[in-house]
Amino acid sequence: MVESSGPDAVLSIRDLCKSFGALKATDHVSLDLRDGEIHALIGPNGAGKSTLIHQIAGTLRPDAGEIDFLGQPVGHLGVAERARLGLGRSFQVSSLAPEFSALRNVMLAVQSRQGSSFRFFRPVMRDASLVDPAMAALERVGLKDRARIPAAELSHGERRQLEIAIALALGSRAFLLDEPMAGMGPEGSRQLTGFLDRLRGEAPILLIEHDMDAVFALADRVSVLVYGRVIASGSVDEIRNDAEVRRAYLGDPA
């Protein structure tokens, strides 16, 4: 069950552990994300999926274990440094600058990618090198018409799209998407599924998702997390037919 991280692993984590008091939220988790793939992480509520994402992104410190990104250890780096290396992330609960328009939210990512935020004089809204890439990212997720709307006034689904646009604009080398489909209608989910399908060619995606149709349609590999442990990992078919998964997760009495 232990995976060896192949030479094409963009992101690989080994033996990650995190406890909150007596609760083992992450229990010796190892997995990797390879170039060009969508690796889905599924599991019941409270299995520790978001906790895992937090540790990869740097918002939580693991108790033990290693995280390598693009061949270098990143466990000691802060959130901002990991993001600059190319870890693009969307949040389970949307996390945006609420007063800023969708466009300005994306522009923030563009300016970070271009390097320094310590520029004091040139107005950002008249800076085509910020506005144009941001607009392009919004267009790709289908939010171009909503560019000038404050993030706080966007619908739930639109905020999810905006988060992905931000990750795109960052030029991410890997995406960590925490339930991007949550709160979307069927039409939105279908569109986003198509979009993620194309996105994997650009950078691999570690996808947490409850929508099993989406997972089975998209994932190249699936890992199942229960009580902080990876109980199974493999292709969609392998996971569907794995007895332990059926028992622990899909509620199959088998």
Binding site: A57, T59, G78, V79, A80, E81, A83, R84, R89, F91, S95, L96, A97, P98, E99, F100, S101, R104, N105, M107, L108, A109, Q111, S112, R113, S116, S117, F118, R119, F120, F121, R122, P123, V124, M125, D127, L130, R148, P150, I166, L170
Partner: protein
């Protein structure tokens, strides 16, 4: 490009402040020139604070420290220039100065250094901690000024002759007003540039959502520290001008009450608005003058008004006139 209602109000405020001293002289009441100068200087101090508080959401209750440091820079340099006694740093000596540009530069540097030191410690925390720590550090400078007798201690330090500006007779009240007004307008322009810049975008986003800023790869701490330093520098500059206005500097410029007043100015005018601090300073000085003329107890009524504004009119004056703030 359309001109927003706020822009019109801002322009009107700037012109109104400029008109006050001329009207005062026309009406044969030159005392009002000093009032207008006070408005400009307090407005400048609050413009500085507004960069930290309005744009960055950093509620500093310690900006009197920077104001006072600016004031003492003016007072100390002037007193050394007056007595012809250079500063003795052991290895080298430096003479004092009564030239405003020199004094301003030193005030900016001193304010910036103090802000960097205070900010580096207090920005490790946030929220209530930040408020209490900035308050405490400002109190520290206050007690230091009181217990250090070389420059007047508790009694303060007089500037016998107002410091000079090349080519201008600063003792003429209108001239001094114009100097302060020009500095104020320049500071507003700088803060507008900052607001609209990349740095400003990162700063305002850090106020709205710190995690978001970090996860696009921008470390909020450094942005905030830089904003705090810029903010402290502007307020220190205002302090230097204030000392020259009164030709006196004392520990009261460093008191917690002063810090509170700066926040009040911003709230009266409107938080995060470009001209909010100016509107607030004009209101405040007018209020102080009118009510102070009627009753010794004017601060009691100021308290009531302030309470009313906080509880019921949160946008301040500019919010009242121009409606909700907009972000592009």
């Amino acid at each position: 490009m359309t001109i927003s209602r706020e822009t019109v109000i801002n322009l009107a405020l700037a012109l109104l402040l400029l008109a006050i001293p001329y009207a005062a002289i026309q009406l044969g009441n030159p005392f009002y020139v000093t009032l207008a100068t006070r408005m400009a200087i307090l407005g400048l101090a609050a413009v500085g604070l507004n960069i930290a508080l309005g744009l960055g959401g950093l509620v500093s209750f310690g900006h009197a420290a920077f104001f006072g440091v600016g004031g003492y820079v003016a007072g100390i340099l002037a007193s050394h220039a007056m007595s012809m006694q250079p500063f003795n740093f052991g290895l080298f000596t430096l003479s004092g100065s009564n030239q405003m540009p020199v004094i301003w530069l030193v005030a900016l540097v001193a304010g910036g250094l103090l802000a960097a030191a205070i900010g580096a410690i207090s920005l490790r925390t946030s929220g209530v901690y930040f408020i209490m720590i900035t308050l405490a550090f400002a109190q520290m400078t206050y007690y230091f000024a009181i217990s250090w007798p070389a420059y007047g201690g508790e009694d303060g330090l007089s500037i016998l002759i107002r410091n000079q500006f090349p080519g201008v007779n600063t003792m003429v009240p209108l001239n001094y007003f114009l100097i302060c007004y020009a500095v104020l307008i320049a500071a507003i322009l700088v803060s507008m540039l900052i607001r609209d810049s990349r740095f400003g975008a990162a700063l305002q986003a850090s106020r709205q959502n710190e995690v978001r800023v970090a996860s696009v790869g921008i470390a909020p701490f450094r942005i905030r520290l830089a904003a705090f330093v810029i903010s402290g520098m502007m307020t220190a500059l205002a302090g230097a001008l204030y000392a020259d206005l009164n030709r006196f500097v004392s520990p009261s410029m460093l008191s917690w009450h002063m810090s509170g007043e700066f926040i009040v100015l911003i709230i009266l005018g409107g938080v995060g608005r470009l001209y909010g601090p100016v509107a607030g300073a004009m209101l405040f000085v007018m209020f102080e003058f009118l009510l102070g003329g009627m009753t010794e107890r004017w601060q009691f009524f100021l308290g009531l008004v302030l309470l009313g504004v906080v509880l019921f009119a949160r946008g301040g004056l500019i919010g009242l006139l121009a409606g909700r703030a907009r972000h592009g």
